[in-house]
Amino acid sequence: MTEARDLLLKIRDLRIEGRSDEDWFPIINGVDLDLHKGEVLGLIGESGAGKSTIGLAAMGYTRDGVRISGGSVEFDGIDLVNAPARVKRGLLGRRIAYVAQSAAASFNPAHRLIDQHVEAPVQHGVSGRSDSIADGTELYRKLRLPNPDEIGFRYPHQVSGGQLQRAMTAMAMACRPDLIIFDEPTTALDVTTQIEVLAAIRQIVQEFDTAAIYITHDLAVVAQMADRIKVLLRGDEVEEADTRTMLSAPKEDYTKSLWAVRSFERTEKPLAGADEVPVVSVRGVTAAYGDTPVLHDVSFDIHAGRTVAVVGESGSGKSTTARCITGLLPPLEGEVLFNGQVLPADYRKRTKDQLRQAQMIYQMADTALNPRRTIGQIIGRPVQFYSGLHGLRLRDRVNELLDQIELDPDTFYHRLPSELSGGQKQRVGIARALAAEPEFIICDEVTSALDQLVAEGILRLLARLQDELGLSYMFITHDLATVRAIADEVVVMKDGRVVEQGGKTEMFHPPHHAYTDLLLSSVPEMDPDWLDRLLAQRGVDNIGDAAVDKM
C-alpha cells in the first residue's frame, strides 16, 4: 500500500528533550517520518527508544517535563509544533485520535463508557449526543463487543481489559479521524485477547481507511498490522522499510539482533523417574478468595533441577496456585508437599527453614523492591534473616550474590532501585530470592514487563543459576515464547483447573487439548500473513476469547 497518496503527516528532524532535575537531555535526536492517508506505520523499539514520545509528538503533544526542541511536525499542512493550544485542541479527538496502552487506566473510572465515547464528537460539534450514542453502539457491534447495545452504559471497572481496549478503539473512531496513534494497545493483554483486539483494530482501520501509527515492541504484532515499519533505538532511527522487506531482509545489525531474540531455547531435560520424590508437590488444591472459588483440585509436581511452566490467561489461577504454595493463601482442600513432607497450610505456621525453601520473584521489579533501601540492604536483609550473618561476612555474601546475577558489587551495593534499569532491578529480585538459599523459586511473570533483549538475558541467567545451584523453578507466564525458551514441563491452567500437563516437546506438538491448541495458535508469528491465514482458517468468531467462551 505504498502507492502515492496524499501526505498526511510530515515530521522532519524532530528533536525532543526531557528534563531531569535542572538539565535537559535528548530523547529524540532528529527523526523524520512520513505518513500517507490510509497508511499504517509500525514504530518498534525497546522501551526508552522514544516510540511513545514520537507518537505523542505526532499529535503535537508532549508530556510534562518533555519539550520539542527542534524540527517540525506537520499534520495536513498544519504546523503542530507552533500551533496555538486552541488549534491543536480542535484537531485532537476530531482528526487525530489516540489509543493508549492500558485502556483500564485510560478510561475515566467515574464515567460510563458511552459518556466518554460521545464526549469528543459532542464537544467538537461533530454530531449530537443521541447520534453519537447510536454510532458508538454501531462501532461496538463492528468491533464484536458482547452486548453492543448495553455495554456502553457500564463503568470501565465492569468491563474486561480486552473489551475496554476495543471500546477505546471505538472511542478513537468516534469522530472518524484521519489519523490514529495506537500506543502498545495489546501489550497488557493475554494472547487470546490480543488476537481479537488485533483483528478488530485492523478491520476497522481498513474499513474507514484511517492512517495509523502503530507503536509496539512486539515484532510479530507489528508484522500483522503495519504497511511499513520503522525501527528506533534510543531516539535514533535505525532503519525503515516496508513490512515484508523489513522482516525478510533487515539491513542493520540492531534490527537483526531484535529478530534473533526468540531463538533462545533450552533443551528439555529427561523426565524425572517415577520413584523420585518431587521437590514440590501440589495435591488436589482447592482454594477461594472469600466466597469466590479460584482453584479446583489443582495437582502437579515439580522435580529437582527442573522448570515447570504454568501457563494460562489472567484469572486462570496461576498466581493463586503460587500463593497456596507459599502459604499466603491457605487452601480449602488439598495439600502442598515439600520433599515429601506436608507443609503447614498457613505460612505463619511454617518454620524458618520451610519458609526459606520456597522463594518468589515478582513480575513488577519496580514495586517489589523497597525504593528507600539500597541494593545491598535489599539483598542483605534475607541473608541476615535466614543465615544470621553479620558485618563483613554479610557483605561478602551479598557481594557473592551480586556476582551471581552479573552485577558489579562495588557499583551497585549502595545504589537505590530507582537508579537501576528494569532488567537490573529484576536481577536484584533474583538475588534476593537466592539470598535465602532456596531449593525452589516461583517466578511470577518475571519477564513480561521487560524488553525482549533484556528478558532473554534474565532467562539465560535463570537457566545458568538452575544448572549451577540445582534450583527448581515454577515459572508462571502467559508468554508461550518464554515457555519454549526455558520450560521442561508445562502445566496449562484455565478457570482454576489444570487442563493439560506434560513435557515441553510433547506440549508443543499436536494433538492438544482444545484450549492449549487455542493458546498456541494465538501467539502471533513473524509472518505478515499469519493473522489473515488464521482468520481464513478459523473465522472471526473462532479466535481469541470468543472461542474460549465456546468451550
Binding site: L92, G93, Y98, A100, N108, P109, A110, E119, Q123, Y155
Partner: protein, 325 residues
C-alpha cells in the same frame, strides 16, 4: 450497607469511651461545684450539704453509671447550678440540661450551616481554579491568602472583619446576639460576620485539599486521554479530575464542619453569639458536670456523624462501590 452499620456501631463505642474520658477528666479537675459556688465563705457543713444534695458524695463509678443509665432513657439530667438554685428556692422552675442546650445547639448549627454554605462552595471553587492555574500568580495569591487566614488567630480575623465591614463600611452588624424571636432574615444578617470569620478559618484546608487532590490526578492516563481528545483545560479538571478527587475532599469538608460545631468559642465570644461553645466553657468553669458531659457527647456525636456522612458520600462518589461488577 454492612460497612455503614459497622461504622455506626464503632461510633457508639467511641461515644461511650469519650463519655468515660470526659467524666474522669472533669472530675480530676481541682475543686468541685460546691467550692466554686460557695467561694471564700465555704464551710465544711455547707459544702457537704451541697455535695449531698447533688450526690457528689457518692463514688465516681456510682455517679458515672447512674448518669449513663439516665442517658439511655435520653435523660441528660439537670445542671448542678439549676439544682442548687431550685433547692434554695423551693424546687420550682428547674430547667433540664436538654432544655438548656437545645436553643444553644440550634444557634450553633445555624452558624455552622451559614458558614458551610459560604465556605464549601467557595473553597472547592478556589481549589479547582488554583489547580487549573497552578503555579501562576493566581494560584500563589490564593494560597498565600488562605494560609494567612488560617494562621491568624480567630479573634484577630474577627476584629479585622468588624473593622472593615461594620465600622469603616457599616454593611454588617458587629453584634450577633440573635434570639428565637427573630425572623430568619434577621438572624441571617446578624450571623453573617461570624460566618465570614469562620469561613476564613476553615477555607484553607478545603481549598488546599481540593487543589492537591486534583493535581495528584493530573498525571493519570485518563487525564492525558481527555487532553488528547482535545478537551479544554477547564473541562479536563471539572469533568475528568474532580469526580475522582471527591473522596479526600469530602473527608476534609466533614472534619472542618465538625470543627464548626465544636470549636468556635472564641468567635462566639467576640460576636456575643449565643452558641453552645460559651455554655460549655461556662459550665467547665463551675464544674457543672451534667452540662459538660452533655456538650462533650454532642461534640463527639457531631464528629462521628459527620465522618460517617463523609464515608457514605465517599462510597457514593466511587462508581466501583456504587456499581459492583
Amino acid at each position: 450497607m454492612r460497612i455503614i452499620l459497622q461504622r455506626l456501631g464503632l461510633g457508639l463505642i467511641t461515644l461511650l469511651v469519650v463519655s468515660i474520658v470526659i467524666f474522669v477528666a472533669v472530675n480530676m479537675l481541682p475543686g468541685d461545684f460546691a467550692q466554686v459556688i460557695l467561694g471564700q465563705g465555704a464551710t465544711e457543713e455547707a459544702s457537704a450539704a451541697i455535695r449531698e444534695s447533688l450526690e457528689l458524695d457518692k463514688s465516681l463509678t456510682a455517679r458515672y453509671f447512674s448518669w449513663l443509665g439516665k442517658l439511655l432513657t435520653l435523660d441528660l439530667g439537670t445542671s448542678f447550678a439549676q439544682l442548687n438554685f431550685a433547692s434554695n428556692m423551693g424546687g420550682a422552675g428547674t430547667v433540664t440540661v436538654a432544655e438548656q442546650i437545645a436553643p444553644r445547639l440550634g444557634n450553633t448549627l445555624f452558624l455552622a450551616g451559614v458558614t458551610a454554605a459560604i465556605a464549601v462552595p467557595v473553597s472547592v471553587m478556589l481549589g479547582v481554579l488554583a489547580a487549573l492555574y497552578r503555579n501562576t500568580p493566581f494560584d500563589r495569591a490564593v494560597n498565600i491568602f488562605s494560609l494567612t487566614s488560617i494562621s491568624s488567630p480567630e479573634f484577630f480575623l474577627a476584629y479585622v472583619l468588624i473593622l472593615l465591614l461594620a465600622v469603616l463600611n457599616p454593611i454588617l452588624q458587629p453584634l450577633s446576639n440573635i434570639n428565637s424571636d427573630m425572623s430568619f432574615g434577621e438572624k441571617l444578617e446578624k450571623t453573617l460576620l461570624p460566618a465570614l470569620t469562620l469561613t476564613l478559618v476553615v477555607m484553607a484546608h478545603m481549598m488546599r485539599m481540593t487543589r492537591a487532590a486534583i493535581i495528584n490526578l493530573l498525571a493519570s492516563p485518563y487525564i492525558e486521554m481527555a487532553r488528547l481528545k482535545g478537551m479544554s483545560p477547564m473541562r479536563v479538571i471539572v469533568r475528568h479530575a474532580l469526580p475522582n478527587a471527591l473522596a479526600p475532599i469530602i473527608n476534609v469538608i466533614a472534619l472542618n464542619l465538625a470543627y464548626l460545631i465544636t470549636g468556635v468559642v472564641v468567635v462566639e465570644v467576640v460576636f456575643v453569639y449565643p452558641g453552645i461553645g460559651q455554655l460549655f466553657v461556662d459550665s467547665v468553669k463551675i464544674r457543672d458536670i451534667p452540662v459538660v458531659q452533655a456538650c462533650c457527647l454532642i461534640f463527639a456525636a457531631a464528629y462521628i456523624l459527620l465522618n460517617l456522612t463523609a464515608d457514605i458520600l465517599s462510597i457514593l462518589s466511587n462508581p466501583r462501590l456504587r456499581h459492583p461488577k
